[in-house]
Amino acid sequence: MKTLLIGEYREGKLLDSTYELIGFAGQMGADTALFLVGSEGQLPAYDGALYLADTAVAGEYNPDLHKLLVLEAVQRENPDYIVFLHSSYGWDLAPRVAAALQVAQVSEVIGTRDGGFEVGCCNGKMRRSVKPATGKAVLTIQAGAFLGVRPGGSPKVTRLSNVSAAGVEFVGYEPAEAKGVDLAKAEVIVSAGRGVGKKDNVQVIAALAKALGGELGASRPVVDAEWVAHDHQVGTTGQTVAPKLYVACGISGAIQHLAGMKKSDFILAINKDKDAPIGEVADVLVVADLMQFVPALTAQLQK
């Protein structure tokens, strides 16, 4: 079995997540070849075949051009799986490649089992095992789902000829808007989930955050309901965080949320439902009614 792994550069730097692709292929027991649109000056610690196109010519992202470059590598390598990260890059490029090759795609893979790929569904409450039935398939893997592996060594580089492609015209980059809170820097985050019940109850969670010297976070449904501002959102569509202490209040644990906080050093979940998926990543679980327990905890902390 052979995989063509589509790594990523961002703002001129090779992303560490590229090594997660190598880890994924290792877990599948597959041979690897790597594809990058990057620069000679910064090659990965990898000893296999590398198909390289130059960012200076191909741009950091020119979708039509990058698609053609990937297809060229696919033609030379004839892989069983073409694997992307489920980042904005893979999000946009993977389905283009799948459609061009007329093959199946499986998005946001979080595990492998019995020859199938595990993906989340229904807001992470359930998982599906999906098998592609086409000879080749395109996969995207969830960031953080597979451990990164650095094989070391120097890659055997094949330079890809640049073909030209018209279509989307790159105009420029803009920095993200300044965020009101930078959760990435917080040592303690206390997040409110749907389980808080209503907007007024958010202040109870905010009070606990304050008592613990931390910041308030939130899950997607809470932000969607406008109980908490979007800059507090933790998860793949919000911020990815790894504080010393993460307290999840009334958060059931959608995969997208778990992906955004599971690297926290210590996770405390406070939830009515002892079987909620958040228990999967929590170090400690308190089964309680939030509105009874959280004020009691806050009061005891303030003593």
Binding site: S88, F170, E174
Partner: protein, 270 residues
Amino acid sequence: MLIVVCIKQVPDTTRVQIDPVTNTLIRDGIPFIVNPYDTHALEAALQLKDRFGFRVAAISMGPPNAEATLRKALSLGVDKAVLLSDRVFGGADTLATSNVLTRAIELLNLQEEVGLVLCGKQTIDGDTAQVGPGIATRLGYTQLTLVDRIEQVDSLRKRIRVRRKLEGRHEIVEAPFPAMITVVRELNQPRYPTVPMRLDSVDAEVAVWSNEMLKLDVASIGLKGSPTWVSKIFSPQREKGEIVGDGLNDPLATANLLIDKLLSKDLLAI
């Protein structure tokens, strides 16, 4: 110029529960909603209609009861609604779904030139984010994903400039019509239907197109046309975290136990 919005009826996944005995989804009584991301695509189309006078068509593939989703779109101001419904479309994965939507857009384009196709960035039930791009490739349209702002529309030159939401930054890109755009929530605030429009929508026509109309090869649609197989759906298996105290019956004692625990892990700044 016509703008086509693809919308999907999905179960409200925030209310989906798992049967603790059978470990399967309890589907009874789960309300259906319009996929939340699609409501932002719809709003974007309606804003373009307000500004440039484009016409808007909403299309949806689904069972007959997905008509409710399209009626909601009509109540918000779309000019045309088409339900793509046929038993042979059932069991479709993203590829087979893309084939059906693509053909429907081709047919709409015969009636009125399509300039833009708008989709939500993903659905909340499948989460694959493949259908929009699948349509774009099949139609040969320019693909613009993860759009959080429409910067400029030049209806004469038929070009659009959008901002895409990436990790920690945005990308501004420009592309010619026809283009397929997938949108994120930050793009806009969806409107609510007015009472008169809601009343009007009750009698408005939702066209139903079956495969008799689309004439697609049955090998390319529904279950047969789907190259991914879901072998099973299951509940995540996990090692549970340690449960501390009895928070339901004795919150105070549990709070104290928990504080001891956090202190022992050096997690409280004292």
